[in-house]
Subunit: 477 residues, 2 copies
């Protein structure tokens, strides 16, 4: 049995194991094992991410080991990472001449090579991505999928452009891609421009996607960085302009990790287990024959026919004809988040009917075997996703409140979720807010979602009274 | 221009770069970058490998970092790897309490968890695999795809069974899978049982696939290990037998790395570049319009129609309507190994014909647009593969000779390839052979390929005259 989702932290801890997403018993802090079921979910989610990026990015692979000399070149960047880099210092029993960092992210692995790949304006834009393991020496409390020492599934894209504006255009493109990705997962997000003190080390600015977890804390599930020519200057990445001059490229990078799976699980799941959108469910449909003595044949036959039909449509379908009781089967497949369940008992078999139910709803209904068509299943899948999306948005809305008083703000983010305030954006006022509200300034809204109506973008700063912008504050993962 | 393939080492070095498989300019020895084109080839080859394994293995992911305490548990295993393990000793600026090894292979990461997964005979067989980066501190000459410090694409499968015999059955299954894989790539192989002194550290025995490279040295492109209960005893992996007793599992593991890509490139390529089987070619078909002034429209129209038709069939097709000369285009796509080329000039366009040629043949021929059907292309693809296979087998045969004199053997393996001898299998006689022939004993044939006729499996040992077995000797990569 799962703990109730209201106790979110325990629920998450348990569902990861009980639904066989990961095995958390690996004997090193912050490292976990992807189980077969979890890995299938990962593959399905990441194949969507690949599909989106493959539209106009090339997939590549750069080494996992970065020499200290390269990692240290960009001053801000290394300052941001030096406390959390794992260092390889020995090969066999010998010390290495140059220490090697396990990539915490790949700017400093890629950009020395970008310098070689980029010669002329005709080589731009350059857009590549890779899906790789990255490493962070996390000293805080670690947690599967959320805070890891080995991020096993980091999708990082890196692009180079002719100037600041074209890079900024790419930032907008990346934000659009990420919106499409999270809309596909029916996971709601808030898009903020991170305050200067919280941007990516070495970036000009950082746009971040945050989702609101059931306990009200936000989880950063994607970031898009405008790097301007900061790294280009460090790594000397120049191109020949059409008129024969030379200019530094402007760059962007943007990343999504397995936190996308954490959000998918956390936002949609319930007391019974996972609830997965149809497209990414490792098992999309389960068929459960209800057998009574003497009437097995008809039930088994119809179940088998339904199985073959659904398989023929190309779905990931499972016919559970094991010896367990139906109740035990319901429990098991609900835990695994199977979106559509068919039951067939003697009564149904006789009439050529099947009973349908959806993972997110209590009700059941009967339809005839012939009415089970590909079109109908696609429609059910779409309706399921729409319900998940609506439910998730309602949840998110219930956790967002507006405040013009810092004590009320503190109270809200302690108990509920994201507090919205007006903030001028100065570091001083930001510090006051973070201290008083005991939370993090997520940043100004980069765009206000459709579903969050009735907020003006501009107002008076809650601290100094100067002109301010609508800004999120929350406790964060 | 490529160096002639006869100078294999330079040819390989150059083709990797010129065909844009990898960028070899990464600033750490033994680490290379997969370029977009190379990475597509990798994905296509590995999706076949996944398809084969997915038949009855589950894909998983285990951490890349292994604590020293686990890695050191199996005595033989650690002895085999201690000189080539990269050690992570620091997180940030702090030394770690327990050093972490970058996985050289994952037995010691997986098996402590297998102990938890396996309770009863009903949990067996357990068959999982993962495709991951592994690390070896190579001190010898490194080389892209062949000898690496980061093996980026190690497919390692691990299985557990009830007893020695069932594990042995799995060894045979794995050998069959690997045969299917390399047959698919049209890469010929010799299958040896490695001599005891060269088996996998901790294994009962090792079966290896070797291919013969153009310079006559063999490249190990796959290994299958019977681990018996050696690791089970170390990691205490027991199961409850049907009669309520407890027994250790018996295990196997088997791996293939990106050396499969090295063999694919090396065996089939020629002086002009890559030659790729149709199924794994990132670009399967290229269409080159031959434009003459005033007659462009018809040519462009037919080219476009052909492109749409082939795309409609689902092929990876490219219409090269760039401004380069046709000769430059031929050169470029030959280098990239595109299997099928269509050319369309004004004469063809008028008649509704297209000119076809295949990457591995000089000849060209015309057929009508309508004759270009999916069936015909599939047949061409199959015929191409058959030609590649035949050519590769002829090459392999020309590099294999039988010897009953050690000086002749030494001479052969120095200049040509694999020498076959009879050997009793004792370490002493093996050492004599290795010393005199200046090569490695690859082992007894596990099975003699169909295409290698006329050899008896048994004969008198070339050293001691006792009963011996047909054994390969060669210089190896």
């Amino acid at each position: 049995m799962l703990p109730p989702k209201q106790n979110f932290s325990e629920w998450f801890h348990e569902i990861i194991q009980q639904a066989e997403i990961m095995d958390i018993r690996y004997p090193v802090k912050g490292l976990y094992v992807w189980c077969p079921f979890g890995f299938k979910l990962r593959q399905l989610v990441y194949s969507k991410l690949r599909e989106l990026l493959d539209r106009d990015h090339d997939e590549v692979y750069f080494p996992a080991l970065i020499p200290e000399t390269e990692l240290g070149k960009e001053g801000e960047h290394i300052k941001g990472f030096e406390d959390e880099v794992f260092w390889v210092t020995h090969g066999g029993l010998e010390p290495l001449d140059v220490k090697l960092a396990l990539r915490p992210t790949s700017e400093t692995a890629m950009y020395p090579i970008f310098k070689l790949w980029i010669r002329s304006h005709a080589d731009l834009p350059l857009k590549v991505y890779q899906i790789v393991n990255t490493f962070r020496y996390e000293t805080k409390h670690t947690r599967p999928l959320i805070r890891l020492r080995e991020i096993t599934s980091f999708k990082e894209a890196h692009t180079a452009h002719r100037n600041y504006e074209e890079a900024e255009e790419q930032v907008r493109e990346a934000v659009k891609l990420y919106k499409e990705f999270y809309d596909f997962l029916a996971v709601p997000y808030l898009i903020f421009r991170r305050p200067d003190w919280d941007k990516f080390p070495g970036a000009d600015y950082t746009i971040a996607f945050d989702t609101i977890m059931p306990d009200g804390r936000t989880l950063q599930i994607g970031t898009v960085h405008h790097l301007a020519d900061n790294f280009a200057k460090t790594f000397d990445i120049k191109y020949e302009t059409p008129d024969g001059g030379h200019a530094y490229v402007h760059q962007t990078c943007y990343g999504i990790s397995e936190r996308c799976i954490a959000s998918l699980i956390s936002i949609h799941g319930d007391d019974l287990g996972l609830i997965l959108p149809f497209e990414v469910a490792p098992i999309q449909i389960v068929i459960i024959p209800i057998l009574y003595k003497g009437k097995e044949t008809q039930v088994e036959e119809l179940s088998r026919r339904l199985f073959e039909k659904l398989k023929g449509y190309g779905y990931r379908v499972l016919l559970d004809d094991s010896d367990e009781r139906p109740g035990a089967k319901y429990y098991k497949w609900e835990l695994k988040g199977v979106p559509i369940r068919f039951e067939i008992g003697p009564k149904e078999a006789e009439k050529g009917d099947v009973v349908v139910s959806f993972r997110d709803e209590k009700k059941k209904f009967s339809i005839s075997f012939d009415e089970v068509t590909k079109e109908r299943i696609e429609r059910w899948a779409e309706e399921l996703k729409q319900r998940l999306r609506n439910r998730a948005i309602e949840m998110a809305k219930s956790k967002i409140g507006f405040f013009d008083d810092l004590d009320d703000l503190a109270n809200w983010i302690e108990r509920r979720g994201v507090g919205l305030i007006y903030l001028c954006g100065s570091t001083e006022c930001g510090e006051v807010v973070e201290e008083k509200a005991k939370g993090s300034v997520l940043g100004m809204f980069e765009e206000i979602p459709d579903w969050l109506e009735g907020f003006e973008y501009r107002g008076r700063c809650i601290v100094c009274g100067e002109e301010g912008y609508l800004t999120g504050v929350a406790k964060t993962y």
